[in-house]
């Protein structure tokens, strides 16, 4: 579905990503883990067209997306749930969701109504709050709203940037359960996370990004078992010396 080869990108003269190659197959949850500043968000932003790539290739469902404008990419079926939610605080929950469905507007009202219903089923709390201003929601609810907003366009690939940021562990668990449910319903998810343990726990495959380079990749269970990953990201370094 998404194939990236030797992608390089950054900001001005600062090169953040170096020769990044990765792919996402349909129906997978793929996670990109890495520390602060490793380049995770830059990678997602480059795919979403928000940051311009310096070189490399990125193909989404056969289309070269490095040539597409950021505004055109969601219509191809690739949407991003940005870090820190970024919901429209002064609009209601339902208005936020409907905005997410704008690319489907031409398909008629009925489609949007069905999609709204689907989001409310997935996130029952949003139904209760449908007329509330988004800014009054709790962090977890805003995250759900941001996810629901992205799903309103019936994307083939949902990219999520740090959905666990600033959320209580219980809420994180709930959000991750919803991501698993999204896969069960046939969605494809590219999940960027600092919370490596939680992300690898639900992902099919993973990539470890370090200072802009992919240093490890493989099935999620292999990465969980990998001692380098354990040491660096799972905080499981065992001290055997007495």
């Amino acid at each position: 579905m998404l194939k990236i080869r030797n992608l390089e990108s950054g900001y001005g003269k600062i090169k953040v990503l170096k020769h990044v190659s990765m792919h996402v197959d349909p129906g997978e949850i793929v996670t990109i883990i890495g520390a602060n500043g490793a380049g995770k968000t830059t990678l997602l932003s480059t795919i979403a067209g928000l940051v311009k790539a310096a070189s490399g290739e990125a193909e989404f469902k056969g289309t070269n997306i490095l040539k597409s404008k950021a505004a055109a990419i969601p219509a191809l079926g690739c949407v991003m749930v940005p870090e820190g939610r970024q919901v429209f605080a002064t609009m209601t929950v339902e208005e936020n969701l409907l905005l997410g469905g704008h690319v489907l507007q031409k398909q008629g009202k009925q489609v949007l109504v069905e999609l709204l219903e689907y989001q409310y089923e997935l996130f029952p709390i949003l139904r209760d709050r449908r007329n509330q201003l988004a800014g009054t929601l709790s962090g977890g609810e805003q995250q759900m709203l941001a996810m629901g907003r992205a799903l309103m366009s019936k994307p083939s690939l949902v990219m999520m940037d740090e959905p666990s940021t600033g959320l209580a562990p219980l809420i994180v668990k709930e959000i991750f359960q919803i991501i698993v449910r999204l896969r069960q319903e046939g969605n494809t998810v590219l999940l960027v996370e600092q919370n490596a343990k939680a992300a690898l726990g639900i992902a099919d495959r993973g990539y470890v990004l370090e200072t802009g380079k992919i240093i490890l990749q493989g099935p999620a269970e292999d990465l969980l078992a990998n001692q380098d990953v354990q040491r660096a990201y799972l905080g499981r370094e065992k001290t055997e010396e007495k």
Partner: protein, 432 residues
């Protein structure tokens, strides 16, 4: 039919994407974790992080058996020993041995790859599989064992040797799949015949044979005499062990597990790629190994790639059964033997002359090696006991160093033909 259909039947484009991703992270791994490669890369001023395509592999340095020997025992490991859960060693000798290691993930991948090979050969979870490869440091026994367990077959870890017992167990346990060297399979067939047992009365239906070169004629003979479908499989401890490549039921070339191994076929002289489909040396780069990654390992095995699609549906390119070696290594009873090993042993035994001949024959499908060595004339005029003592010493030393029994014959000085230039000290009379 397939063990990992999503990989075995993936599209060529997806495979190449996966290979590139895996090659890039392998290069990072060896470039940062293995001093041998870090040094080689820096000597060659190689930007190993700047790899853009699979073709770039041609810029990488080779790894040879000698590099492995020089790094004995753990020099080429890419992880600290505490992460290694298994160590194997080539059927080698002191000073000549090579050591390889595996992490937990390596063992898991290895098991899956062997399971693929077994599955392709027709083995299923319902089979009773008799593994007559040697267990121990040799990768053959344990490699197949873990793969067969992964597949869910019932494993009989009988190991090599004691043919009558093998047959007894084959009858009593109703073995359906046999794994051993092809010559041992024929040996079993002969013993069956001598014991008056009709193979048709056995439950055997498939056999996987490897660890030594064999031929189509041998396959026919095995199929006929044991009433089974014999397939070939290939592997070498330096890159993993069994599970590198294996035949499907088309019996027309071995599918290489290309998502884990990147292969090249090169002209052994120029080290340039041969024309597609031409014979050359097989060079393998591992793509997923954690503990013991290998970059462009020169196998010294000669083969050619078969690029035509296979009716079985597997996307992986096939290689022709091994056609020979680029060096003088002999495979005797499945054990790798270099004439130079025998030479250095002989040189260190008092009373022998530096002239010898190694004769390898195959009798009743069993390999037999005889070392003929010149001794000082005085020894022949001496008592017989001295000659016998010398023969015993040589035999013992060869046996302990090579790991195989070798017959020894003393000959008088200057009776072996002398060579001018390159000598032919090995006489391989085996017809395979």
């Amino acid at each position: 039919m397939y063990w990992q259909e999503d990989k075995e039947c993936m599209s060529r484009g997806d495979l190449e994407q996966l290979q590139l991703e895996r090659l890039q992270s392998t290069l990072y791994r060896v470039g940062t974790h293995v001093p041998f490669y870090r040094q080689k890369f820096s000597e060659m001023k190689l930007d190993y992080e700047g790899f853009n395509s699979l073709e770039d592999i041609r810029k990488l340095p080779f790894t040879t058996k000698q590099d492995l020997r020089d790094s004995y025992p753990y020099g080429l490991f890419a992880v600290p020993l505490r992460e290694v859960v298994r160590v194997h060693s080539s059927s080698g000798t002191t000073g000549q041995a090579t050591v390889v290691g595996y992490t937990k993930n390596d063992i898991k991948n290895w098991s899956d790859l062997v399971a693929r090979v077994l599955c392709a050969a027709g083995v299923t979870a319902d089979d009773v599989i008799q593994i007559a490869f040697g267990y121990g440091l040799f990768t053959g026994g344990f490699g197949i064992h873990y793969g067969a367990e992964r597949l869910g077959a019932s494993v009989i870890p009988i190991s090599a040797g004691n043919t009558k017992r093998q047959i007894q167990i084959m009858q009593d346990f109703k073995t359906t799949a046999l794994v051993c060297t092809p010559s041992y399979a024929l040996n079993i067939a002969d013993v069956l015949f001598d014991m008056g047992i009709n193979p048709a009365g056995l439950s055997l239906k498939v056999g996987l044979f490897g660890a030594e070169p064999w031929s189509e004629a041998m396959r026919r003979e095995i199929n006929e005499k044991l009433g089974i479908k014999a397939t070939d499989n290939y592997g070498l401890s330096e890159v993993m062990g069994p599970g590198v490549a294996g035949e499907c039921q088309e019996c027309n070339g071995l599918h290489i597990n290309e998502d884990h191994f990147l292969v090249e076929v090169l002209d052994p002289e120029t080290l340039e790629p041969v024309e597609p489909g031409e014979v050359g040396e097989l060079v393998i780069t591992t793509l997923t190994k954690e503990a013991f990654p290998m970059i462009r390992y020169r196998t010294r095995d000669l083969t050619r790639l078969l690029h035509e699609p296979c009716p079985c549906g597997r996307i992986f390119t096939r290689m022709h059964r091994i056609l020979g070696r680029t060096d003088d290594m002999l495979i005797i009873k499945g054990v790798n033997v270099f004439p130079t090993q025998i030479e250095s042993i002989l040189f260190n035994i008092d009373g022998t002359e530096p002239h010898y001949r190694i004769v390898v024959e195959r009798e009743n499908h069993q390999d037999r090696a005889t070392v003929m060595v010149e001794v000082r004339e005085s020894l022949f005029s001496d008592q017989m006991s001295k000659q016998r003592a010398l023969i015993d010493t040589i035999k013992r030393k060869l046996n302990s160093e090579l790991g195989i029994g070798v017959a020894v014959k003393l000959v008088e000085e200057k009776t072996l033909e002398r060579f001018e230039g390159k000598g032919q000290r090995v006489i391989d009379k085996r017809k395979i």
